[in-house]
């Protein structure tokens, strides 16, 4: 029959085709194009056409102390924020896993920071943090405690930003872990109780190992996001004071859209891409150890 022609024979290729084209155009192409630009000296301020210069942009970036500082800050911010979020998020999830009155209302409250726009969150926290007319220093001085410079001092700016990240994203970890807890079978608990295990023993020897894969998944999701954090930092400090909250993503933004050195900015982004990739693969292989 003529009808059972091309379409029928190739259905298995044709149906995924739109998705494949989508992925190629919108995900693979930008990455490859960034890679290409990173090997050029494309700079808008020079007014010259771009030339391919090999690894020159990479060398220039590696030599720049700002880049090395930015890497350090990126990890400091990510680790600081995600570790607190993971611990706090798990604790909240364990609390929410019990039955008590007002539980659903509490869950709803937890969701609110997640749906807030980062820029709006940044603006509100900036008002809290303002050293002269802000709420937090007012509270500190009312309690007789020394005031802090918060986001305006180079020593406190990253912890202050982490606090915002923690406020906004701890609920996400809670929700993921809560879903993990709901899926646990009750058999191990019953046998542990029969054997006379204490609740501390039960937590560390049964609950924690069983939800560890879930927690690690949540950590991967959060950490990949935190490594690339841009919105909150840009809205609150734009990398300042000085460069003291400039993470890799902020630096790449500045180099591309304020300095217009597209080659170097692309090189920075390739480094960031590699860091995120290596980190994710590392955590994923750690996750495998906990799977049965």
């Amino acid at each position: 029959m003529i009808k059972s022609g091309f379409f029928e024979r190739n259905l298995k290729y044709l149906f995924p085709l739109p998705a494949l084209i989508f992925v190629l155009l919108l995900m693979v192409f930008p990455v490859l194009y960034t890679l290409f630009i990173s090997f050029t000296n494309w700079s808008l301020t020079s007014g010259r056409p771009m030339e391919i210069v090999g690894f020159a942009s990479y060398l220039k970036v590696l030599k720049d102390p700002r880049f090395r500082d930015a890497i350090g800050r990126t990890f400091y911010f990510t680790i600081g924020a995600v570790v607190v979020e993971a611990v706090l998020g798990t604790v909240i999830a364990l609390i929410l896993n019990r039955e008590f009155r007002g539980k659903n209302g509490l869950k709803l409250l937890l969701l609110l920071p997640l749906v807030a726009t980062p820029v709006a969150v940044g603006i509100v926290f900036n008002l809290f943090y303002d050293p002269t007319i802000g709420f937090l220093n007012y509270v500190l001085s009312a309690l007789g405690l020394p005031q802090s410079g918060w986001v305006t001092a180079s020593k406190t700016v990253l912890p202050s930003l982490m606090l915002v990240d923690i406020w906004q994203w701890t609920p996400m970890i809670s929700l993921i872990v809560l879903a993990g807890l709901a899926g646990l079978s009750s058999e191990p608990y019953e046998s542990a109780k029969v054997d006379g295990a204490s609740s501390v023993q039960i937590f560390f020897n049964i609950t924690l190992p069983m939800i560890m894969p879930t927690i690690l998944t949540a950590i991967i999701l959060r950490a990949v996001d935190a490594l690339k954090t841009y919105d909150i930092i840009y809205a609150m400090t734009q990398g300042g004071p000085g460069y003291s909250s400039e993470t890799l993503n902020l630096l790449a933004y500045k180099v591309s859209f304020e300095y217009f050195s597209m080659g170097q900015a692309s090189a920075i982004l390739v480094f960031l891409f590699i860091i995120v990739l290596v980190f994710s693969l590392g955590v994923m292989s750690a996750r495998k150890k906990f799977e049965l």
Binding site: T132, G242, F260
Partner: protein, 423 residues
């Protein structure tokens, strides 16, 4: 296989049908795309655009953006060749050189520049062609609290020695005596007059000189004032952060651009009565009396405009004398000479604005930042020196060395862009 080809052919043909439809629609009515800044003049234009549309039949699609985002949007659109912008507000000192060099602006041979001061037109001129219509001028002024001065029994400072003494005397009871931008790159423009008044500068003949003795004196003075008498956290503050502090009554003197007066005394944002807020000229320094006075905003036309006639018509209207007078009546300082001579304007404007403008126009210096293509990066480099001097209250022992290092880095940028030595 044939079937597939037929289907593809039909799809391709129908695409061109849609395209036809689009161009038909465009031919009926002229349309232009205009990018404005979130600036009082941008707001004024937006409100008046319906009048322009009614008069000319040209449809105007407006977008408003913050200044930094505006530069970024324009640059990326132009650089990637995807731009459909026809007319836009532009900052001559920030992106002017870059845009001229890359051919983003349309030369404005058909525009009449007779009503503008020469030095403000020169900023947008290259090889005899003018690319930018000057729109707004800004100069440095000092906002101060008349009531606090009266209470302390001191008069408004006229030189830097008096300024420091006044700042010291007024720093008490939770009020900071003196504020100005401290956040590195943002502070570059406000520091400029302090350099000029100490005999320093950012660039001279296309070479970085902010490590010269005069410049270092200016940097130390600025750091000393802000470090000792500035509000807490001043090292990370730009005007957006300083204004609320001034409005909350926690700042006695604040130097910044002249455009902010209306916002400073806006009764919905401050409890300080307008009559308690004074506007004075920046005090003179030991080696000069030259506050910056710059064309902070201009208007340009895209060289890729598909509707150059309609775009030109809009440009002429948006920079017209009539609108300039309207803006002046709202305390927006315009670049047109005639607007300043208008009798109604002189009657309505704040006397402090008129007096400081007259002083700056006569003695001022037409740049407030290093005038170069890589100005964004240069501002960050100079910002590092500003940060150092504020953090050490002007006493840093490595300030000279740091300034020298950063000046060398700025010279490298000038060389890389072929602008070193004023080429």
């Amino acid at each position: 296989m044939k079937r597939v080809l037929v289907v593809l052919l039909i799809i391709t043909l129908s695409f061109s049908l849609f395209a036809q439809g689009a161009s038909d629609k465009g031919a009926k009515k002229e349309e232009i795309r205009v990018l404005l800044a979130n600036h009082p003049y941008g707001e004024l234009l937006k409100a008046k655009i319906p009048e322009f549309e009614a008069k000319t039949g040209i449809k105007v699609n407006v977008e408003s953006l913050q200044e930094a985002q505006l530069t970024q949007k324009l640059t990326t659109e132009f650089a990637t060749g995807s731009s459909t912008v026809d007319v836009f507000m532009t900052r001559p000192l920030q992106e002017g050189l870059l845009f001229i060099k890359n051919g983003y602006y349309q030369g404005l041979g058909a525009y009449d520049f007779a009503d503008y001061p020469d030095n403000s037109v020169d900023v947008g001129r290259k090889d005899g062609v003018v690319y930018i219509v000057p729109l707004i001028t800004e100069w440095q002024v000092m906002y101060y609290r008349k009531d606090l001065f009266a209470k302390a029994g001191i008069k408004v400072p006229t030189d830097f020695v008096e300024l420091e003494a006044a700042a010291k005397a007024l720093t008490k009871d939770g009020v900071a005596g003196f504020g100005s931008r401290g956040q590195g790159a943002a502070a570059v423009t406000q520091l400029s007059s302090f350099l000029y008044n100490h005999g320093g500068n950012y660039l001279e003949n296309g070479v970085a000189v902010f490590d010269s003795p005069g410049s270092i004196d200016g940097l130390r003075y600025y750091g000393r004032l802000l470090g000792n008498y500035g509000p807490q956290g001043v090292g990370s503050m730009s005007w957006e952060n300083l204004m609320p502090v001034f409005q909350a009554g926690k700042l006695a003197m604040w130097t910044d651009a002249s455009v902010f007066l209306d916002q400073v005394v806006d009764p919905t944002k401050t409890a300080i009565p307008a009559e308690d807020v004074g506007v004075a000229q920046l005090p003179r320094g030991p080696k000069g009396d030259s506050p910056f006075i710059v064309v902070s905003w201009g208007m340009g036309m895209s060289s890729k405009s598909k509707n150059p006639d309609a775009a030109m018509e809009f440009l002429k209207w948006a920079t017209s004398e009539e609108l300039a007078v309207d803006a002046m009546l709202k305390n927006i300082p315009m670049a047109r000479d005639s607007a300043w001579k208008n009798a109604k304007v002189r009657e309505m404007m704040h006397p402090g604005i008129i007096a400081t403008q007259a002083h700056a126009a006569q003695n001022g210096y037409p740049y407030d930042r290093p005038f170069m293509s890589a100005v964004g990066q240069a501002r960050d480099l100079i910002g590092e020196v500003i940060q150092e001097t504020i953090n050490t209250k002007g006493t840093s022992t490595r300030l000279e060395a740091l300034a020298k290092e950063k000046a060398a880095a700025v010279n490298e940028l000038l060389k890389a862009d072929g602008e070193y030595g004023g080429k």
